[in-house]
Symmetry: C2
Subunit: 219 residues, 2 copies
Amino acid sequence: MKVAVVKNVLDANERIAQDNRTLFDKQKIFVINLMSSPGAGKTSLVEKTISALKDRYRIAVIEGDIQDTQDADRISALGIPAVQINTGGACHIDGNMIREALPSLELEGIDLLIAENVGNLVCPAEFKIGENAKVMILSTPEGADKPAKYPLMFQESAVMIINKMDLMPYVDFDLERAKRTALAINPNLKIFELSCKNGEGLEAWYSWLSDQIESFRTP
Amino acid sequence: MKVAVVKNVLDANERIAQDNRTLFDKQKIFVINLMSSPGAGKTSLVEKTISALKDRYRIAVIEGDIQDTQDADRISALGIPAVQINTGGACHIDGNMIREALPSLELEGIDLLIAENVGNLVCPAEFKIGENAKVMILSTPEGADKPAKYPLMFQESAVMIINKMDLMPYVDFDLERAKRTALAINPNLKIFELSCKNGEGLEAWYSWLSDQIESFRTP
């Protein structure tokens, strides 16, 4: 019974996510669902990405948080359209929350929409929102055991960004083990090692993301 | 309808947690529900606490993880009875999972039971397990904005441990802001600042925990 309820919720979400996707396809908007543990650096990555790409692409952001608007305020400060979703306790964003947020954004002409999920390495991986790619961040202080302990997140994501590489000298992070175990779960995972703080490794991420946007616009 | 389903789940959990509590009271077992984001240092804190207190108290541990047994293996290596709960996808442990785990532990003579929850700053705060105290860890790399963004966790906890103080020189963590916003949510929150890595601040935590165990045994 419980399983049936959960399955119905996921099926309903899948339909709404598909509707969102149809809309994004029509407008040629490349959509990222950005996920990680709390404090791994999602908003920092969004800020850096906006600064690097905003002259080439029109970008919009949806910020998902349980409550408060700190993240949307940070993005708005960059002159980018940002909508805050407050999930009111829910531990993830879903297709319907994105659908409800869209009328608050001018989608016309947008090239890239980044949806920053609630900080949570578990539940967000279960809910599609109509994204082109799920991108997840693992930060070095979290430890290399995370792929084995939270496998769905690594399985569902197209990209794993290893952030806070600047802290490598101060934390016991086994980089090779993290990559090896993540790739064992998902051999197609694209991996970037970078630091939003000192900027190392960000160019490769910008380059990959630009390629995705370009090839989506002109298939 | 959806709300009613959720309410029923929480009500059912509350009853089972109360049954667990009755059992723990009878056996005079002080129970901690330990929660945090992934990688904030829950298992490290459990290891340190065991090493410091195992000669004075009999300790047992329940490890909650979505899958795998890395954490229970770490605890068993210390000669402490440990049971691994695999939640099979669920993002938290609940009263029933604890109830199911108890027959695998010899409760007779146990003074302290630590239940390490799934790494998640959201959902675990909603589910009682029959604990005496919810203890949550915020690690410095996560940032000082977390209390405002994940308020329920800070509201429900008796203790906030600020871990990874050794990383303070390398991260932008506003310690005063973190404490101020957490106390605004929960003025009764007991706060410890420590590092499981270099050991600073751990004595105050051991002392508080010992006092709790003692006063629970001889009220």
